[in-house]
């Protein structure tokens, strides 16, 4: 009896020591990264309320930097572009990824090869993507010249230098880069559909298209939301792709918030204004992530009650 009592008392302590490596591996990096992220975010928020220009100085100017930033054409163009680019890119990359995943799901030969090919652009850096696409989309040396040379002399594909369409060139390059990621997630989702469901639908006489539409795709809903959220956060923070592809666009037509932040903070020596733009970017991100978090919370509560 005394021996059992002794081991009882020791067990929690021994168990804790045995799990120490796990704790350290998880909690130390987590706390360090969280501390790093939060402390710098707080510092940026503080700078956005000071009159800092070349170097950070203390002081308080209220919301002056925010009103000044929102009033600049750069920010207004950037915000509009963000709406266009964000919705266009997310929608099209989800559709593209879904299409590729469905096509790859058909148990074709060499599926691994195709999957690698579609995933490969993810490994290329954004700067390389932007540079090469800037050559491809340039009317004088790229696709337009090629097609004109092949004989279709009235073919036009000069979006890169067109103020209205230049943002879509960035959508094209971004889709090329990250559809593979959407495809990989969707493929995993498609493969994890319950085979009994599919067999039942086949017995009921559903053709492939109806089977996809009515049976398989609805089960992909959670994965779709995940893909949308991840692609949205990527879209909101796009910087090097735009810098390499259009440099901010013909004139200032393809400005995006991340470029505005960098431009004001470092190239114009207006730290406080740039910090205000960065905080505005954070607010935009929160406007996307908070509803998602709320939706997940509600989902969990529903499934807990159900």
């Amino acid at each position: 009896m005394p021996a059992a009592a002794r081991t009882d008392r020791r067990r929690p302590a021994v168990a804790a020591v045995r799990r120490l490596p796990e704790f350290l591996t998880i909690w130390v990096p987590l706390l360090l990264s969280a501390g790093h992220l939060i402390s710098f975010a707080l510092w940026t928020i503080w700078v956005s309320f000071t009159p800092s220009t070349l170097v950070p100085v203390s002081g308080w100017v209220g919301l002056r930097n925010y009103t000044a930033m929102v009033a600049t054409r750069n920010w207004q163009i950037a915000f509009d572009n963000l709406l266009v680019f964000g919705s266009g890119f997310v929608l099209l990359s989800v559709l593209m990824g879904l299409l590729l995943a469905i096509l790859l799901d058909q148990r074709i030969r060499g599926e691994n090869v195709f999957r690698s090919i579609f995933l490969y652009p993810l490994a290329v850096s954004f700067v390389v993507t932007g540079t090469v696409w800037s050559w491809l989309l340039n009317p004088g040396i790229g696709i337009q010249k090629l097609v004109n040379g092949l004989g279709w002399t009235s073919f036009r594909f000069d979006w890169l230098i067109d103020r209205e369409m230049a943002i879509w060139t960035i959508v094209i390059a971004a889709i090329w880069q990250s559809s593979g990621f959407a495809m990989a997630l969707f493929l995993a989702g498609l493969r994890s559909v319950d085979p009994d469901l599919i067999k039942a639908a086949q017995i009921d006489g559903a053709g492939p298209i109806r089977m996809y539409r009515r049976v398989i795709l609805p089960t992909l809903w959670p994965i779709t939301v995940t893909v949308v959220v991840i692609q949205l956060q990527f879209a909101i923070t796009t910087f090097d792709l735009v810098r390499a592809l259009t440099g901010g666009g013909p004139g200032t037509a393809t400005q995006l918030p991340a470029l505005v932040v960098y431009d004001f903070m470092f190239q114009r020596g207006l730290l406080a204004r740039g910090a205000a733009a960065a905080v505005l970017m954070l607010l935009i991100l929160l406007a996307v992530l908070l509803p998602y978090a709320a939706w997940r919370y509600l989902q969990r509560r529903q499934s807990a009650h159900a």
């Binding site: 340039n138 009317p139 004088g140 103020r163 666009g249 470092f266 190239q267 114009r268 020596g269």
Partner: protein, 426 residues
């Protein structure tokens, strides 16, 4: 017998230990930590040559170039200043010198400048930029003009022209002749922001140097809304229509082969383009260099000058290095060597440019500078961050680059946007 006593041993050992320090104090080897944006091309070659001269004089040269535009170099400079470890010497130019001197301590160079008699041989507008607060804290090294006119010999032949245009009217006529003679694009241009800014500032300074001074250097409201600025926008629209729209955001150097071949006629670029052309393998007789057009007949010179600023350091070897560097920068032989490599002209007005190693373009530029200073038409370039600080310059160039790329924008709209941008950035 002389016994070496313990006391003598102690005394001599102490003396031996002290001796090297005494020797070091008397002959400190100068060392210099430098940062600049000149990492490649003719600029990189020039600063490497300057470093070799520094080492020939017995110093240790530690140069860390930061490739990119000047702003990337300034980011590194800001980081080092905030960390308390500024480089002994860094590149800086224009009104940024005054702005940055407020955030970190600089070295007072008055004594060295007086000893070298440098102030007498520097243009007064330029000298004022480098002595904010009345004391010399930075030294200009080379001068470029940002509105030099480059003419392709083959394109001139196609247009059957033999006169270099002097006024904007003649320039426009020559461009029309070139177009009629088969030159696809009379103006060779890049798509970067300074390029677009250069077109406008060349137009405005050529139309009226006085209006340029009032509008761009002093930011006078009336001048910003005045007729000269509107006329400059109209001229910039004409120039934009003669440029290749497919250039997108590329650097102007991608169009150099077509320029030399005669497919593109003229360039309004800075004097550095000479170095770039020669580096790219083209010959001096493929093109002609002349001052940019100016409507009142006398040349207008848009100044762009690079300078070195010296940050206070406590280490004696860095201080000795700063003294040596300052003396080198003011030396006419060093300025000659530097400018011959980069294609600029020396800051010193007493350097003789008639020898070999100087091109006709450089001689013309130097003559233009002399005439412009005499006629009070030497003004500071806006597009190259000489006339205003970075924030104001960027706000103005936002308007200019949109105007150049957006054919639907009228000169009136350009004027309105420009004054709004200036007000917003004040």
């Amino acid at each position: 017998m002389n016994k070496i006593t313990r006391r003598a041993m102690l005394a001599s050992t102490t003396g031996l230990i002290a001796a090297p320090r005494l020797a070091r104090a008397q002959a400190v080897k100068p060392r210099l930590t430098v940062i600049s944006q000149w990492s490649a091309g003719s600029d990189g070659a020039a600063i490497t040559a300057l470093g070799k001269k520094f080492e020939e004089k017995g110093g240790t040269w530690q140069h860390s170039p930061v490739p990119g535009f000047t702003t990337e170099m300034m980011n590194k400079l800001r980081a080092q200043i905030m960390a308390g470890d500024p480089p002994a010497c860094s590149q800086l130019k224009g009104p940024e010198i005054a702005a940055w001197s407020k955030i970190a301590a600089t070295v007072n160079l008055d004594a060295l400048v007086a000893a070298a008699g440098y102030e007498k041989v520097v243009a007064p507008d330029l000298a004022r930029l480098h002595k904010p607060g009345g004391k010399w804290i930075s030294l200009p090294l080379q001068i470029y003009s940002t509105n030099m006119l480059f003419l392709s010999k083959r394109a001139m032949d196609k247009a059957k022209a033999d006169r270099i245009p002097v006024t904007w009217a003649e320039f426009n006529a020559l461009a029309e002749n070139m177009k009629a003679g088969g030159v696809t694009y009379p103006i060779a241009n890049g798509g970067t922001r300074p390029d677009d800014g250069q077109k406008f500032e060349a137009a405005l300074a050529g139309i009226s140097p006085a209006a340029y001074r009032a509008a761009m250097m002093t930011l006078d409201e009336k001048a910003l809304k005045g007729p000269e600025v509107k006329a400059a926008f109209a001229q910039a629209r004409r120039i934009a229509d003669w440029m290749d729209p497919n250039t997108a955001a590329q650097h102007y150097s991608v169009n150099l082969p077509r320029f030399v071949a005669g497919d593109m006629g003229m360039m309004i670029q800075g004097g550095w383009a000479q170095g770039v052309l020669l580096n790219a393998g083209f010959k001096l007789d493929d093109f002609i260099i002349a001052p940019g057009p100016c409507d009142n007949g006398k040349p207008v010179f848009l100044l762009n000058a690079d300078a070195f600023i010296f940050w206070q350091r406590k280490e004696p070897d860095l201080q000795a290095g700063q003294t040596l560097m300052a003396q080198l920068v003011m030396d006419p032989a060093i300025q000659t060597m530097y400018s011959q490599i980069t294609g600029s002209i020396p800051v010193r007005t007493d350097v003789d440019l008639s020898g070999a190693g100087w091109s006709d373009g450089q001689r013309r530029t130097a003559a233009a500078l002399k005439e412009a200073v005499a006629a009070n038409q030497a003004v500071l370039s806006l597009a190259h961050n000489m006339a205003q600080e970075n924030g104001m310059t960027a706000a103005i160039i936002d308007v200019l680059t949109e105007y150049v790329k957006n054919k639907a924008m009228t000169p009136d709209q350009g004027v309105a946007r420009l004054s709004n941008a200036v007000e917003g950035a004040r």
